[in-house]
Amino acid sequence: MDFAFTADERAFAEDVRRFLRAHPLESFPLEGMDAGYGSGAHSRAFMRALGAQGWLSMGWPAMYGGQERPLFFKLVLLEELALAGAPFGPLAGCWQTADAIIAYGSERLRREVLPAVARGDGTFWQGYSEPGAGSDLLGLKTQARRDGDDYVIRGHKIWSSHAGIATYGLVFARTSQEARRSRGFSMFVVPNGTPGMDIRPIRSLTGEVYHYETFLDDVRVPADMRLGPEGEGFIALLNGLDSDRFWGRFYKAPALERTLRQLVEYANTTRVRGVPLARDPSVRRRLADAAVDLAALRALFYRAACLMRDEATITYETAVAKVMADETGQKIAQLGMDLLGPWGPLREGSRGAKLGGQISHGYLTSLGHTIAGGTAEVLRTTIAVRGLGLPAEPKADARNRG
């Protein structure tokens, strides 16, 4: 056992901190909202600044312009960025998509898309969910029909984060009607702006735009923009969702730690009847409890990270980490609201807002986290079935067939 970071990892963390000191976060314009996951807002300029450091492609093989840095360097980068509250919203999605392209993408995808990702110019939205297919993705209706050297995609995608400001969509579509349920799906990389694609914003309960829905009206995509073999998209997607749970949540612990530090500072400096709020036993206990939860959360994520690094089998380890990340986030969001009292609900920019009005924002965004990327319920089932070997519930259509 060894729970320390290596000297190289610590030196890299110092590099990242130096970069953050040299590039004040206020200097980066933001285009998309901070959805509270820990990766901050969407800033193209910040992504380009990371690209200029070589950090977007640092884990890739040298033949694709990478530095072949180990997985833990990516974790160090995410930790430091999240702890600083940096706007690196699209980063994890870029890494995941690039890894998939390197693993089984066409030459065209490698040639065209990877360099754009490395510069910070290429970002992605996930076109998975549909109005009729949420937790049950096998029910999706979007179709991609082969037509010569192209596919023609028709369908309706929804809940795609930052889709309107990204550069490519990852569109998951049915390519065969005949094949078994889980076969017959394929993934496509579709550039934004392709004729027939209509991306519309969905205003979220914070009043900002994070999600989009996309209408695909006979969108024509060259066949070599398909990601992976035809019909095997679902397996790729499942693997993607496994790592999505990890990469889409890893930075939540450091981000929540940042929030916790703010709340500790607030409790120390806010006096109630002349006594610091920090002396209130229930406040003390809840803040300490939150620190314990965060330590536990980190343990889950780093264990999963070690398994990923060692290429060991992952059955439930990322799922349990995601569930705990999201529920801990909601708990800390409520704690923040309670500590701030009547100031809690004030929004950013309001007269009198405390802690920048971020607490109410974090509270609202946290509501979506136990839904997005696999609901807490679906993931608990995953933990039980894949992790513990409990029997799966009969599928509804199997029951109907009787």
Binding site: L287, A288, A299, C306, T381, G389
Partner: protein
């Protein structure tokens, strides 16, 4: 970073798992729980043959010079078996104290006997306040002199040859090593639901000489800190092992118990409860290993140990309670093993400071004024 125990540590744990599976099945544990003596001496001697009581003793005193991390892995297996007995009290806490504070002569005299398990020692710390914080020790004694008063919740005193007694001396805390058969010492059993052997120890004008000191006068608090840390980690490990066993029992039950035409583990209500047990056990173990690793590496580990104990102290009893709910009526029976693990976890959760106590340490560590 690496979460895996080393090869020798894995061997230690797997040997313990197999040994305890054979020699300490739940039926036997239940008998020992109801028996006034507890763990049979024969089994204690077999454990000693495996070198377990000597794990924390340096090789020059006949031990194997293991680390706290080794101890934690071994005690986790003891928790998995719900093994009763004086291991933590004697081989972890008292042994740590002697190694920390004992004079060369005391170490030479006592550590080899503790390492072989021939002698058992235990710490007498807690008093009427119920606190295991050395600052709360009130029992006063001047040395040489006479000791009158009492200690509570002394573990395994009924089989111990030595008591290590924390006393207030002037402004400081001192430690005394007293043989349990010294005139004026009586051990009165307390009856705990867990079947753990606890005593009230009464000192009635017990004669104390300068040679009875463990360490110098007034340095008891500093000497106690590492031993209490070791005890805290060991009880946390016991909880983690017990909670893992409950999870394993529950999953086996959920797979095989059929209601409504299918195993109850196929119902989401049960699946989701099991998923929460996984979360609780995995996080408790992760925090335990991290804290034990830090302590074993000689790094400051006070807040990590507090985090591990506070978390396990809430998560593991929750696992036990939910285990009962999933098992249903059968787990309400004495012959069903679940209550053994549950009671042990409860006892461990409250020992060496409850969650509230450790959360206060955490509160200070995150900078709350």
């Amino acid at each position: 970073m690496d979460f895996r125990p080393s090869a020798p540590q894995q061997l230690l744990a797997s040997t313990a798992r197999e040994f305890l599976r054979r020699h300490a099945p739940p039926e036997r544990v239940q008998e020992w729980t109801l028996d006034a003596h507890g763990l049979p001496d024969t089994l204690w001697r077999r454990m000693a043959e495996l070198g377990w009581p000597g794990l924390l003793v340096a090789p020059e005193h006949g031990g194997s010079g293991g680390s706290l991390l080794d101890v934690v892995l071994l005690v986790e297996e003891m928790g998995y078996a719900c093994l009763p007995g004086p291991f933590i009290a004697s081989a972890v806490v008292a042994t740590s104290l002697l190694a920390e504070a004992g004079s060369a002569d005391q170490q030479k005299r006592m550590l080899p006997e503790l390492a072989t398990g021939e002698r058992i020692a235990t710490l007498a710390l807690v008093e009427e306040s119920g606190s295991s914080d050395p600052a709360d020790v009130a029992l006063a004694c001047s040395v040489p002199g006479r000791l009158t008063g009492r200690k509570l919740f002394v573990k395994d005193a009924h089989v111990a040859e030595h008591l290590i007694v924390a006393v207030r001396e002037g402004d400081g805390l001192s430690l005394l090593v007293l043989p349990t058969d010294r005139r004026g010492i009586s051990r009165l059993p307390l009856e705990a639901i867990s079947g753990e052997k606890l005593s009230e120890v009464v000192f009635d004008g017990v004669e104390v000489a300068a040679g009875d000191r463990l360490g110098a006068a007034g340095v008891g608090a500093a000497a106690l800190a590492p031993a209490l840390a070791a005890g805290t980690l060991a009880r946390t490990a016991e909880m983690v092992g017990g909670a893992q066993r409950i999870l394993d029992l529950v999953v086996e039950h959920a797979r095989t118990r059929v209601q409504g035409g299918r195993p109850i583990g196929g119902y989401q209500a049960i699946q989701h409860a099991c998923a929460d047990l996984v979360r609780d056990v995995d996080t408790a173990r992760g925090l335990l290993y991290l804290a034990a690793w830090k302590a074993a590496e000689g790094q400051p580990a006070e807040s990590d140990i507090a985090i591990a104990k506070a978390h396990a102290g809430e998560a593991c009893p929750a696992v036990a309670r939910r285990g009962h709910q999933i098992f249903g009526a059968i787990s309400y029976c004495e012959e069903h093993p679940l209550h053994l693990f549950h009671k042990r976890i409860q006892a461990a959760a409250l020992d060496f400071g409850d969650a509230q106590h450790h959360l206060e340490t955490v509160a200070r560590s995150i900078g709350l004024v």
